[in-house]
Symmetry: D3
Subunit: 151 residues, 6 copies
C-alpha cells in the first residue's frame, strides 16, 4: 500500500498559453503528449480573444524540473510563439489506498488524509470503468456499490 | 423616426455548426461575413467535443429566406461538412427611437414597447462610443449622462 | 407519497435571449423571478458576441401555457428587445419518493423509474443541506450516509 | 471510395439534458457510450444553474430512429429524471475521399462538395495522428505536409 | 460614513482547485461556506479536463492569513486531494458611501476614488433588490432611478 | 527583416479583474483601449459568481512598466473597485519574417525559432484577410495557398 504524507510542495509551476490559431482537434493530441510527459494536470479554458476570436487557454501544472520538457512539447506541437509561467505552492493531503470488494471484483479507493483523518474517499475511475465495460453495468451503479462498502 | 409594432415573427431560423478543426482567428472573419450578409445575430458557444477537443459552436439567427445565403458562407469559410437548422418564433417589442442631448452631442436611444408601454431604453452603443473616442471620456460616463436625461 | 408515471410531455417550450448590455448582477435576480413564476429550469450559457462582447444566453424551460408570463418577466427585467422560442418534447421518468433514516434525521430520496425499474436515486439536496448546516457536517458526508442506506 | 451526395436530412433530432448532480468523470464515459451507440455527435456545454451550481448541458445529435436507444443510455448512465428533444434538419455536403502520399505513408483526405465543387479538404485526424505517434513528428507537421500535396 | 484610502494590498492569495469528480450542486454549498468564512471572492471557471471530462476550477481570493481556514473547508467539502495557491497584490480604490433618495426609499451607493477623484458609483445591489422585491418594480428601474440622482 | 532572439522575459505581469456589474458591450470597448495602450494580450474568461451571477474575468498581459497605465484604464472604464496582479515569466521563441508570393499578392509569414530551428510558421492574419476581402476568396483558401508555398 502506497502511503504519502500530508505536505506542501513549493516547487510547482503553472504554464499558460493562449491559442487562437490552432484547430481544436490538435489540442486533444497536445493534452495526451503533456500527460505522457508527466504533467500533474493539463486542461483547457475557453477564452474570448481580440477580433472576435473564440480562443483556448492551455494550462499545464508540473514540477519546476519538468518545465523545460513541457515547453518543448508546447512549442513543437502548438502554434504559439511564447509561453508564460509562474510558481505555485500545492498543499497535498496524505494519501493511502484501500481495496473494496464488489460483486464484480476489487476496486481501489484512494483516501485523502488531513491531519491524519480521512477526508476523501475516491473509488478509482479506471477500476470502476473496467467493471462497467466488462459487465455492461452502468458506471454509476459500480460507484454506488463501492460507496456502500466504505465506512 | 422609425417605428416598429410589437409582433411575433414565425419565420426565423437558427443555424448551428460544431467546429473542432478550425483556428479561432478564422472565426472572427466568419462572424463579420455573416453579419454583413444580414444575419440578425451571430455568436459562438464554447463546447467540449470528443477526443478532448475544445470546440466552438457557431449559431446564426436569420430569416428563413436568408438561410441559403448563410449556409453558403458557412460552407465556404468554415471547415464543416454539415450544418443543422430549426425554425424559431421571435416575439419582438415595438421599437421607437428618441434623441437625447448630452454636453458632447446627440445620442440615439432605442426604446422597446410592450403593449404600448416603454419597457426598454437603450442608448445606442455606436453613438456613445463615438463620443467617448472623440472626447476621451470613459464610455460609462457617456452612458450615465444619457441615462440621466431619460425620463 | 407522490407518484408520477413515465410519460412524454409534448407541450414544453424553450425561450432564449442573448444579452450583451445587462450587468451580471441583474441576471441573478431574473433567474430568481423566473423560477418563482414556475419555470421548470432557468440557466445561463456564456457566449461570444460581436464587437468582442462577452455575452450571456438566458434559457428558460417551461410549459407552453407559461410562455407568456415568462416573456413578460424577461421584457420587464432584462434589456432585450426580442425573445425567441421553440417547442420541445420531454421524456420524463416515473417518479417516487423514499425516506431514508440517517443519524441526523430523515432525508427524502427522489427515485426515477424507466419501464418500472428504478434507474435514479437522488437524495434531496435541501434535506442534506439542512442537516449539513445544522450539524456542521460536510455535505458530502451526508450524501454518502444516505447512499449507504440505499439498496 | 465512399461517395455521398449533397442532401438535406430532415429526420435528425437533438437530445438535451441539464446536469448538476453528476461528477464530470462519469460524463467522459457517457460520451463514449453514446458515440459507440452511433450518435452523430455528442458534446458538453458549460452552463450556470440555480443555487450557484456550475452545470453541464449534454447534447446528442442523432437520427430520429436512434433517439430511443440514446435516451436509454442517458437514463441509465446519468442522474437525470428527464430528457428533452426537438427535430433538426441537416444540410450535408457531398463527400468523397482522396489519398495523399506523404514521406511517412498514405493519409486520407475527406472532401466536401457544394454543388459539385470541392469546398472542404480535411486530412483524416486518425491517419495523421498515427503517423505522428509512430514517427515522433509533431502532428502539425504531418497536417502541413498533407496540405502541401493538395491542389 | 466608512472611508477607505486607496492602497495596494500585498498579502492576498489565490487558491485554486480543479474538480472533475464532484456534483455541481455541492459546489453551490461550497461557495456559500467560503464566503461565510470571509473570502474576498469565490467563483467557478468551466474547464476541459482529460478523458473528456467537463470540469470546474474553484478559485478563492483571500488574505494570506485566511488561507489555512479556506483550505480546511476545501478539503472537507470538496473531493480534491490537493489545492494550489500563489500570492497576489491588489490595488484598491479609496471607498466611500453616499445615500441616495428614491421614491421608494434610501439606496446606498458605493463610490470608488482614484487619486481622490470619484471614478466608480455603484448602487448597492441588496438595497435595490429589496426595493424591487417589496414594491414589485423591475430591478433595472430602481437602478436607473438611482443613477439619475447621481451627479 | 525584423529578427528577435529566443529569450525569457522576467518582467511581465498579469492583471485580473472580476466583473459582475458591467454590460458586455462596454467590455469590447475596454479591450480595444487596453490593446491600443500596448498590452501584449487582453482576453475574457466566463466565470460563475455568487448570487447566480454570470460574470467575466478580464485578464491583461503586459510589461511591468505598463501596469500603472493599464490599471488607470481599468478603473476609469470598468466598474471595479480593485484589480489584482502577479508577476509572470515568458519564454519567447526567436522571431523572423518571411514573404510568400501568392496569386493575389505578398503575404508575411511569422516564423518562430527554438534553438535556431523553425518550429512555427504563421501566415499573417491581416495580410490574408486583406486578400480575402479584396478578392472575395474564402480566407481558408488564402491560408492554404500560403501553406503550400512554405518549405
Amino acid at each position: 500500500m502506497r502511503h504519502g504524507q500530508e505536505h506542501i510542495d513549493h516547487d510547482m509551476v503553472k504554464i499558460e498559453v493562449n491559442l487562437d490559431d490552432i484547430p481544436g482537434e490538435w489540442l486533444g493530441h497536445v493534452m495526451e503528449l503533456l500527460l505522457k510527459e508527466g504533467a500533474n494536470d493539463v486542461f483547457y479554458i475557453p477564452i474570448y480573444m481580440k477580433k472576435n476570436r473564440p480562443g483556448t487557454m492551455l494550462q499545464v501544472l508540473c514540477h519546476e524540473s519538468q518545465k523545460s520538457g513541457m515547453m518543448d512539447i508546447i512549442f513543437r506541437e502548438t502554434t504559439t510563439l511564447g509561453a508564460r509561467y509562474y510558481p505555485l505552492s500545492v498543499k497535498r493531503l496524505g494519501r493511502q489506498f484501500r481495496k473494496v470488494e464488489t460483486p464484480w471484483g476489487m476496486v481501489s479507493v484512494k483516501e485523502g488524509l488531513l491531519e491524519g483523518k480521512i477526508v476523501q474517499q475516491a473509488p478509482e475511475y479506471s477500476d470502476c470503468k473496467a467493471i462497467s465495460d466488462k459487465n455492461s453495468i452502468p458506471l454509476k451503479q459500480v460507484f454506488q456499490e463501492v460507496w456502500k462498502q466504505l465506512k
